[in-house]
Structure formats: structure tokens, C-alpha cells
């Protein structure tokens, strides 16, 4: 995937799963998203990088409506999100199809690992308990923590908690996964296990939008790297282009800072 896919809608397979058209967002006076255009193809892994405060989280949080935007269009899997929180029921439809993993895991502390994973499939998809449990056990095995199913989140390490969070999101069988710095809150020795689970997911063909500072992981897994600065997409392309031959001076100075150590 060397070029940004700008395929027209209605061409079947190539229809983007996410499309942002001239999206603008303000926090008061702060213009955090400025005419953002972005398309993500099915199966594509997009890694978003940029300095702190550049608007990376805001960008992916707009995709599942955790943030409102003020102008432009966002279409996710054929469902259009409207500006200023006017999406109504569509919002829930989109969230059902889009999973998210947060920096702070956000597991539900009052529920066991198993209940964390089965809650949404049972309440949103109305799956019977047996089916939800079955899926949960398979997913927990897939992320390597099936033996922790009966525990509570506080009894797990950070790396294990984040893998539960991944299993919880995958239990809804999402079409798209969003990751907002999934390893930034982890002790260094636990980062690997979470990245491994994500790498496996990417290899299985999941469409992913990932905000991360793990440049090695981005280089290896991303189909496309997007560099964001001051609420704009400054540069994008395959990882070897963006990382090895950044065209924009902002990208160069950002990379020289983060790749130094």
C-alpha cells in the first residue's frame, strides 16, 4: 500500500472503512483538527504519530464519536457521523462496529475478567451467555491469559490488563480497532506482550488505527504512517518513506527527537 487510497465509493472492496472529509474541531479557541482528510481501507494498519498535544487522540476519538467535531463529514463503515453530536442512534451503531483500546486500559474494576469481556456482547449484541462465554474464553486464550479469567482487573499486571482490554474490544467482533497509546502506561518489560498481541491482530487482517510512540513497532506493522502536527496531517506514507526520508521539516525534527533514544 504505497499510496494513500483515494478510491471512490461504490467500488466494492476498495471502499474505505473510515473516511474523514474536511473535518474540523475546536476546543474553545484551540483549533485541534484543521481540515483533516483521511481514508482508511479495509485491512489497513494506520499508525498516527506526532508530538504531545498535536491532536492524535482527538483524531481517533472522533472516529467513534467520543469527541464531537464541528465541521466536515466522518463516515465509518457506511454510517455517517454528524457534527456537533447530532448523530443520534448512528453513534451507537458505529461504536458497536468499532473497538477501542485506551492508554489507561479502563477495565471495569467491579467485574471479573470474564465479565469484562462478556458484558457488551450480552447487553449490546444480545448474545446468549453460553456464546459470550465461549467467545471470551477463546479470545482470552488468543491473548494468552485464559488462566486469569476468574480474576479481577486489580489482580493483574498492566500488560495482562491491557490484553484483557484488547480481548474485551474484540469480543464485539469489530470491523475496525482504535488504539490510543496502548503501551504508554506500561512498565517497559510489559510493552512487548501487548505489541505482540496487536501484531498478531494486524496479521489476521484487522483494520487498525494506532496512536503510538513505539516507532519500531510502527515501522514493522504499519501500512501507512501519518504524522500529525498542530491539528493537521503534515505528512503520510509507508513507514520506510516517512521514517527514512521524511519530506517535511516538522517530521524531520519530530523524528530526530523521538528516534534519538
Amino acid at each position: 500500500m504505497n499510496e494513500v487510497t483515494h478510491t471512490s465509493p461504490k467500488t466494492g472492496d476498495h471502499e474505505p472503512i473510515v473516511r474523514l472529509d474536511k473535518v474540523n474541531k475546536h476546543f474553545g479557541k484551540l483549533h485541534v483538527m484543521q481540515d483533516i482528510d483521511l481514508e482508511v481501507a479495509p485491512g489497513e494498519v494506520v499508525v498516527i504519530v506526532g508530538a504531545s498535544g498535536s491532536g492524535k487522540s482527538t483524531l481517533i476519538r472522533c472516529v467513534n464519536g467520543l469527541e464531537e467535531f464541528q465541521g466536515g463529514r466522518i463516515v465509518v463503515d457506511g454510517n455517517e457521523l454528524l457534527p456537533n453530536g447530532k448523530s443520534g442512534k448512528t453513534l451507537q451503531t458505529i461504536r458497536t462496529e468499532v473497538g477501542m483500546v485506551f492508554q489507561q486500559f479502563n477495565l471495569f474494576p467491579h467485574l471479573s475478567v470474564l465479565d469484562n469481556v462478556t458484558l457488551a456482547p450480552m447487553k449490546v449484541r444480545n448474545w446468549p451467555r453460553d456464546k459470550a462465554l465461549d467467545t471470551a474464553h477463546k479470545l482470552l486464550a488468543r491473548v494468552g491469559i485464559e488462566d486469569q479469567a476468574e480474576k479481577y482487573p486489580s489482580q493483574l499486571s498492566g500488560g495482562q490488563q491491557q490484553r484483557v482490554a484488547l480481548a474485551r474490544a474484540l469480543a464485539m467482533e469489530p470491523r475496525l480497532m482504535l488504539f490510543d497509546e496502548p503501551t504508554s502506561a506500561l512498565d517497559p518489560e510489559m510493552i512487548g506482550e501487548v505489541l505482540d498481541a496487536m501484531r498478531e491482530l494486524a496479521n489476521d487482517g484487522m483494520t487498525m488505527m494506532i496512536v503510538t510512540h513505539e516507532m519500531g513497532f510502527a515501522r514493522e506493522v504499519a501500512d501507512r504512517v501519518i504524522f500529525v502536527h498542530g491539528g493537521r496531517i503534515v505528512e503520510q506514507g509507508p513507514p520506510h518513506e516517512v521514517f527514512d526520508h521524511p519530506r517535511h521539516e516538522r517530521t524531520q525534527s519530530f523524528l530526530s527527537r523521538v528516534l534519538k533514544h
Partner: protein
């Protein structure tokens, strides 16, 4: 040391059967009022944090009025004042339960507000991102956690309200203090009887504390 008084244990024991008759009334007013107050507290606590101003301000007004005035004045107002408005008498028991419900309801609203607001924003976001509706996110994720955090404060409020019912002797409900006063009027054993009355309040509040500690302990699993 000069012993200037004599504590008459027999008089204290003799008063027990009479005082016990007040306990059902004390419990009925306390727990009846608290049960209604809890429902009021949930409703107004949630209205209090509503993003919609026309829902929020009546809740603020209610909370401020009933927290900012004495419960004794509230019960006098309900028992003696309200009949002039509605044109008929109000039964003392009803007035007592209503006063506890409205007064505790105001405090419990604030407890509910604090409990719900103490749950990290990420919990709600995680729920919504899984496709849960706002109502489902509240019911399955926010409320269970908030409720656990509210238990100690609710226990406190329970104890305060139980003790507040002692003021309602003024409207003539035959609760503990009232029973004690009537008994003392014929026996003149104020020291012994008020001591026993105090012990009975203590027995009720300690039982409540104990019960809540059990609930809390069980509720702490998984935190």
C-alpha cells in the same frame, strides 16, 4: 468524693418494657424515611449533575433548602404548617417520615452526586466505545462502582437520620424519646430513663454500622 446522686438500676430496668414500645416507631420513621430518602437522593442526585439546566436547578434548590434548614423546623412546618395549606390534618407519623425522607433525601442527593462524579471518565468511555447505550453504561458500569463508594457516607446519613427522629417527640409520635418523657413524668427517674434511651439509640446505630460493614466488606471484592 461526695456521692451526690444514686443511679437506680432497678428504675432503669423497670423502664425498659415501656421504652421498647417506642422502638418500632423510631425504626419505622427512620427506615421508612431513609428508604424514601434514598429514592429521592438517587433521582435528585442525578438531576443535580444533568447537563440540562432546567433539570439541574430545581434539584439544586431542593438540596440547598433541605440541607440549609433544621430538620426540627421541617417537621414542625409539615405537621403544623402544611395542614393550613392543604386544609386537613397530617398524621404525626406521616409528618415524621416525610421530614426524614426530605431531609435525608437532600443529603443523599449530594452523596449520589459525589459517588457518580468520582468514577473516572474513562469508565464511561470504555462502556460507550463497546456500544453500550448511555443508560446501559450507567447501569452496568458507573452505578455499581459509585454505589460501593457511597456506602460509608450512606451509613453516616442513616445514623444521623435515626438520631434526628428523637426530635419528633415534639409532634407527639410515640418514639423512644417521647416514651421516655411520658414515663419520667410519672416516675421522676430522668437520669435512669434517659440513660436507657441513649443505650437504645446506641444499640440501633451500632447494629446499622455493623450491617453496613458486612455489606462493604462483601462489596469490596474485586476492587
Amino acid at each position: 468524693m461526695d456521692v451526690t446522686f444514686q443511679f437506680d438500676w432497678q428504675a432503669a430496668i423497670d423502664s425498659i418494657p415501656y421504652l421498647l414500645e417506642g422502638i418500632p416507631w423510631t425504626l419505622l420513621i427512620s427506615f421508612g424515611g431513609l428508604a424514601i430518602g434514598f429514592i429521592i437522593g438517587i433521582v435528585f442526585g442525578l438531576l443535580r449533575i444533568s447537563p440540562i439546566a432546567i433539570l439541574r436547578w430545581p434539584a439544586i434548590a431542593y438540596i440547598e433548602v433541605f440541607r440549609g434548614t433544621p430538620v426540627l423546623v421541617q417537621v414542625l412546618f409539615i405537621f403544623y404548617g402544611l395542614p393550613q395549606i392543604i386544609g386537613g390534618p397530617i398524621n404525626a407519623l406521616t409528618a415524621g417520615i416525610a421530614a426524614i425522607a426530605l431531609n435525608a433525601g437532600a443529603y443523599i442527593s449530594e452523596i449520589v452526586r459525589g459517588g457518580v462524579q468520582s468514577i473516572e471518565k474513562g469508565q464511561r468511555e470504555a462502556g460507550l466505545s463497546l456500544g453500550l447505550s448511555r443508560t446501559q453504561a450507567f447501569r452496568y458500569i458507573i452505578w455499581p462502582q459509585a454505589f460501593r463508594r457511597m456506602i460509608p457516607a450512606l451509613g453516616n446519613q442513616g445514623i444521623v437520620s435515626i438520631k434526628d427522629t428523637s426530635l419528633f417527640s415534639v409532634i407527639g409520635v410515640g418514639e423512644l424519646v417521647r416514651q421516655g418523657q411520658i414515663y419520667i413524668a410519672t416516675t421522676f427517674t430522668a437520669l435512669e430513663v434517659y440513660f436507657m434511651v441513649a443505650m437504645m439509640y446506641l444499640a440501633i446505630t451500632l447494629s446499622l454500622s455493623f450491617a453496613l460493614r458486612q455489606i462493604e466488606r462483601r462489596g469490596l471484592v474485586g476492587q
